[in-house]
Symmetry: D3
Amino acid sequence: MKKIVTFGEVMMRLSVPGFGRFEQATNFDVTYAGAEANVAVSCAYFGAHALHVTVLPDNALGQAAAQSLRKVGIDISAIKFQDGRLGTYYLENGTMARGSKIVYDRVDSAFSQIEKGSFNWDEILQGADWFHWSGITPALSRGAADACLEAIEAANRLGVRVSGDIYFRSNLWQYGKKPQDVLPRLTAGCDLVLANTDNFKEIYGVDAPDFETGCLNMKKIFPTIKYFTDTTREQISASHNKISARLFDGTNTYQSAVYDLTHIVDRIGGGDAYVAGLLYGLQNNASLQTAVEFAAAATALKHGIEGDYNLVSVAEVERLMRGDASGRLKR
Amino acid sequence: MKKIVTFGEVMMRLSVPGFGRFEQATNFDVTYAGAEANVAVSCAYFGAHALHVTVLPDNALGQAAAQSLRKVGIDISAIKFQDGRLGTYYLENGTMARGSKIVYDRVDSAFSQIEKGSFNWDEILQGADWFHWSGITPALSRGAADACLEAIEAANRLGVRVSGDIYFRSNLWQYGKKPQDVLPRLTAGCDLVLANTDNFKEIYGVDAPDFETGCLNMKKIFPTIKYFTDTTREQISASHNKISARLFDGTNTYQSAVYDLTHIVDRIGGGDAYVAGLLYGLQNNASLQTAVEFAAAATALKHGIEGDYNLVSVAEVERLMRGDASGRLKR
Amino acid sequence: MKKIVTFGEVMMRLSVPGFGRFEQATNFDVTYAGAEANVAVSCAYFGAHALHVTVLPDNALGQAAAQSLRKVGIDISAIKFQDGRLGTYYLENGTMARGSKIVYDRVDSAFSQIEKGSFNWDEILQGADWFHWSGITPALSRGAADACLEAIEAANRLGVRVSGDIYFRSNLWQYGKKPQDVLPRLTAGCDLVLANTDNFKEIYGVDAPDFETGCLNMKKIFPTIKYFTDTTREQISASHNKISARLFDGTNTYQSAVYDLTHIVDRIGGGDAYVAGLLYGLQNNASLQTAVEFAAAATALKHGIEGDYNLVSVAEVERLMRGDASGRLKR
Amino acid sequence: MKKIVTFGEVMMRLSVPGFGRFEQATNFDVTYAGAEANVAVSCAYFGAHALHVTVLPDNALGQAAAQSLRKVGIDISAIKFQDGRLGTYYLENGTMARGSKIVYDRVDSAFSQIEKGSFNWDEILQGADWFHWSGITPALSRGAADACLEAIEAANRLGVRVSGDIYFRSNLWQYGKKPQDVLPRLTAGCDLVLANTDNFKEIYGVDAPDFETGCLNMKKIFPTIKYFTDTTREQISASHNKISARLFDGTNTYQSAVYDLTHIVDRIGGGDAYVAGLLYGLQNNASLQTAVEFAAAATALKHGIEGDYNLVSVAEVERLMRGDASGRLKR
Amino acid sequence: MKKIVTFGEVMMRLSVPGFGRFEQATNFDVTYAGAEANVAVSCAYFGAHALHVTVLPDNALGQAAAQSLRKVGIDISAIKFQDGRLGTYYLENGTMARGSKIVYDRVDSAFSQIEKGSFNWDEILQGADWFHWSGITPALSRGAADACLEAIEAANRLGVRVSGDIYFRSNLWQYGKKPQDVLPRLTAGCDLVLANTDNFKEIYGVDAPDFETGCLNMKKIFPTIKYFTDTTREQISASHNKISARLFDGTNTYQSAVYDLTHIVDRIGGGDAYVAGLLYGLQNNASLQTAVEFAAAATALKHGIEGDYNLVSVAEVERLMRGDASGRLKR
Amino acid sequence: MKKIVTFGEVMMRLSVPGFGRFEQATNFDVTYAGAEANVAVSCAYFGAHALHVTVLPDNALGQAAAQSLRKVGIDISAIKFQDGRLGTYYLENGTMARGSKIVYDRVDSAFSQIEKGSFNWDEILQGADWFHWSGITPALSRGAADACLEAIEAANRLGVRVSGDIYFRSNLWQYGKKPQDVLPRLTAGCDLVLANTDNFKEIYGVDAPDFETGCLNMKKIFPTIKYFTDTTREQISASHNKISARLFDGTNTYQSAVYDLTHIVDRIGGGDAYVAGLLYGLQNNASLQTAVEFAAAATALKHGIEGDYNLVSVAEVERLMRGDASGRLKR
């Protein structure tokens, strides 16, 4: 896999062991996570040179976060260490009818203090095949939104393909801008967009009776977008989901197999695992059908991995993609 | 929720982590539990002023048990600390065809040394809406049975409604009395009884072809009982049960939804969670149907919570009661 | 012990198990702590009705913090739950020449959003013997400083004695005020002050060749202060300290025994344990010498207790105070 | 159950807790295991005098392995302690589509240095009912193969019945011999053989359209074999298998019930649990049908037990064998 | 080392990890222990055939206790399994001035229900060199005292030497007898007695100005006692003790070296480790001086071992006995 | 700090938690370690570009070892992945008179299969300031010795300074060569040698009454060696050591301060921490005295760090080097 660049906040993830509730916890499992960094880690496991761009606090916790990324193969050479706090999120694992619960504590993180010009994007993006961002970053602060736009513009300028996970959580937008004001300009620079019809409507005012029509209407506004993709999750319970994905190239829809996830270990990062799988698929596989199948198998495997990072190899994804869901013992 | 008073032994629960067998354990998880205290904790989480009455040993373990109750919101002001030991129970978690296993070690506990007159029930029950007891307490010692009767009589006198969980385990009755000698007098003071047709027959000699007939026959002996209720558990395996409940008011049977519990974490305390849900439902909801639905949803959620206490909120129960069993991630 | 009221922020404490460094941590031990709450907990263990006033976030983490306090006996009836985050602090345990390390992450907590008038101090302080505050609270925000002043004024009005831990960390003061602007007015309402000659100089501009002279000079400015106290810590290493304390009543200095702390488990909260011991001593003992001895023995014991709270009883402190440092096995 | 003798390597098993991947592990769960020792442990739990013969390194790890066996009831009096290393294996638990993963590290273990004449088999087998070996042992070294042959010959001589688990993993055979060269001579001494049609073909060149024909063809070569048995595992996923077994006595096939293993905890050692169950069944039960049912129920239960050893009693197996898979709570 | 037989209760030991207080414990470390069994385990580690006689409850916990003993080499063939509970004890580890704390919960254990004639002592003691008992056993119940006397009488009859640890805790004697009524008859059968001058006076009414005089006075009453021994513990703190021992043979006192225990891990079982060392020394060494030195070194090492059992070898004890306390790394 | 290259085996380290003995362990802490890699990690923490050269098995464990190094900043670009096993070592932590115990299991590791020409040393050493090796590597196999010589010759050719830790353990040399045959040729290429007078004599036949004379005699044979250094460890107990170091430059001896290590957490890797400190000191400091002081302070700090790696910063070492051993709390 070729070079991929991702940009976004990295947080400390503090999760209650087992199925305990927050008030039962006497200790938390500690990992590090972030939607875009999760994509990078998965790409690194697929063989990419994955460079993640972020700002971390200039203290022992920021260093620990950077070490966590470096361990799993991320190029951390572009990470900046500045004053500020490390964003955190707290996770309680759900089961059956009780859903998992996340409490975010990311306000005023070092990352949110990014400013225009913080990074030399031309240098960072040198030789990259894809640049990936998500809708979380522009939601965090004006500076983060500015930096994200700079990155997309640089990518466009350098011929680096751009993928955007149009992740929309209205309660994140606290700095005075609305997603409708900011996201369209960022979306305009994308080659691939992960979004659903709700996003089309809420953010871009694009209404449509179905996904394909929505995509075609989006394409009228954002003609550079080549691929639209989304995943479908049927939630039988917190322990049991069915997941599938589709990819629309403006003409055809490529629908993946449906995966029956009967004993979910950790679903956080499932969407990021999908994006990484898709980027890999679009780089390496013959057909769009194969790409979406690879990506869907990747996200399926993520649900059995602890932590946000999808620590699986290409061989493991391909085994599942080829239909072997037997979980046979490997000696 | 209004004031509720419960009365019963509190034990230390020592459970093997994961699915280990007793002989594999090199450490035990420690919590505290008791059928009636479990009801109180759940009511406290539903917003009640929940006062639990018990006797604990006057040592560091008794203090730890009391702290455990106080932590989750129980009013411990009526707890007495006396000489004696803390009852314990050991738990091995089952899975699939291997059932969970409990070894009780509660003989001669400080609680069992209760005597008539130990508690000032008139003061304790002041302002209470319900008093709850279970069939375990009168099984432990003559004094415990006496105190339980005193409490029920005081409740009757003060207009506090009484609920009894006619929990019948013959091997508990070691002090010379038989359940048939003791339970009827206690039952006579109840407004609500959790029991099934087996209990009707074994304890009260009331035989009947079905639950409703049994209840009506019981009502002839115990005319003050307004509500009869029981739960039905279909045991596919130790990991997978289906549970439902019904409530009979002398005229109609209100049958709850059936909950499919596919990944059971901890089923101990499920019945107590049901009772708490029912008391909440009878206080707060418009209809008996809603009450039994709330209670059934509460016990369903308990199966996903570690420990005996059902640490869930009214909002969580209502979400499930309304049919949302999807376990969706909450951010 | 009589009623005591404390006021201050409660944080989540995340500590690396054993002697691991932050980057080695795969899990954190979770407890809750705060300088003033620590005092309250210790007083509760000494038998006081200890009421702690604070603001916690209105989420599951805030509830968990409140449960932690309630468990160990704190009256949490005056705690407010509001929007905002829970302050946290990260702890790495040092040993030998490597000191323990704390990373604070408390900026913009729910507590710091307190405003004047947030609490009904007259009601809260009703029947109290002491009100305790520390120099941390006015450092956090203007509103917190205002509320602290309100509390002290109410205490003065109601005849409640006031103790202040003039804890001075310059890097806390981020909201535009300097400690020199704010602390004197709060100090003016105190009966007891924990401070050393450095504090006298830095905050109040009071220079003196020794502690007693410093106290007398302080008394000229703050005539209501009856007691000055400080502790002396000789740091042989992170694992081995010697600690002692003195109390000056304007006339005499009462010097405690020196405690040799040879195997330190956790020194965080040592100062708070001292304050609690002193408040107990001033309430319950015949002489000032006994009071300072009790307080010094209390802080000595704290160094062997995990977490911020000094979970020791009066009997345990008195045993040490009487000279029995043998750590004999108690059966 | 009567005396049973087993012979084979004992390894340290190092498994990642929960569902972590190898690179996520900061600690490993440590148990001890070996195909033949697993059989012995299960037999000991069924009441046998189970004597396991092996060679362990003469160091603290070898002693720990021996203690592990002695704890669960194995007669370790014939174990030799010699120079060399303890074989180990590393286990990563799979879930859903991701299979469990084993990394063996058993090369050049103390066990593989066994030589002809290492053990006094006539003494060891004195009074035994069965001798059990597996195809792993002769794969490890020439000396191990020699010793295995000595044991089988001694058993034949003494009238001790012999069971062989024709476990064939080609990558184990590193010492210059092929399984086809070695296994036939060992098989010739067997009364019972666990093997499937693939084994028949690969090892013995016996081709057949179905199991029974294969067995009959095998019987032509190895006329002393009375029983052929194998298990069938349908792998829905790593978390969910269906398992059943059959036993062929040269005339009839006895087919067990199919067990639906919906929440697998640990499948390692499942085959060994089956063998132990079968040996018990053949000793203790009236019919071959009962024997195979007991064995299948035993292996079903193993999937819910942590570690390689099947720590279940006859009563537990019989409960399941009689059709009670309800996993009811036992108090 | 030759055969040794010990007799006494085995309990489950539940200890708080680290230095937590009982109310902080969310899990307990589980081991098994008993004064006399501890002696047996240590003797087994010194190479003895160590047979421990006890009664355990006939349930999973009793089996787990027996497995714990068998693991470390104890001959459990004489253990009886009967109705009743398993005695337990709870341990909180002290540090510095805070002593460790034990809460016993052993009343009405299966062991205490022993009756005269429960054991066939002639068979059990066959071939033994020593029989060891402690003053705990006769304190537990009349039947236990009776059985202890039977054992001592059988030992005397068979020429098996008897050692008694005159462990005197007045609060244990709950069944109506006083130690003064029971212990002398047991003591009369001893060859070796571990006791101090306080014991001489309290139990036997033997007053003396020093240890040797006390022993000589004891010898007048109990002429068969050849050896008197006791240990001296100087308690600097719970973390730091100095320990030494002496042995008096009626003529000379053999004083051991003093061991400086600067970082105590676990002092429970220290006295039992001493007894085991002494029995080993008396069997195996040339001189009484060497015997007491070996025993003192053994108890010194125990303070660095987790749990009650002194899991150290003869070589390890001898290294320390020879003066090498350097704790050098062994590769 | 400039580029440093190290060469040597990396093992998995499996250590018993706390102070448990091997047979008590139910889990092992897992880290990765190797004498030369430990040096590299420490240098990376001091700011060096630290490149470690090794061979790891081409499996999940080898990848985990590499990730462990990458996490803490090691350049792993020259690591080769080949068939073979991962060397392991087992560690039991000692305390007081009981020393720590290591069981090595490194025979036939992937590393030992290195052959001459395995690495392109000219490329690897490009731009390096130091190359570091230890006496372990040439002891493991002929190929490892050959590769080590290649590396030293390349370093000499390229002007890269060479440091050798003449670590002599006779039991490592199993492949047919003696240290006396191999080490001199490697030593001949060194600028700095860590060795003591015992090493001088055993390996090189250089006898001398004191360290300085020994060094001078060595210099006659190996004229390129500029610096000789060794450390002195006084072992009061396993928990308490005193450590110091000296550096001889052919003319003067520079003696470091003596560090009193009173509460040792983990002494493994102490020598490697010293080497790293010395390399840093020789690169960065004005005087040889400062260099040896920095190195001694570094090794002192190591004794308080869990695992083999000395995860401390230059600032932390300098604080101690300047005499601040107070272990003051850092907020």
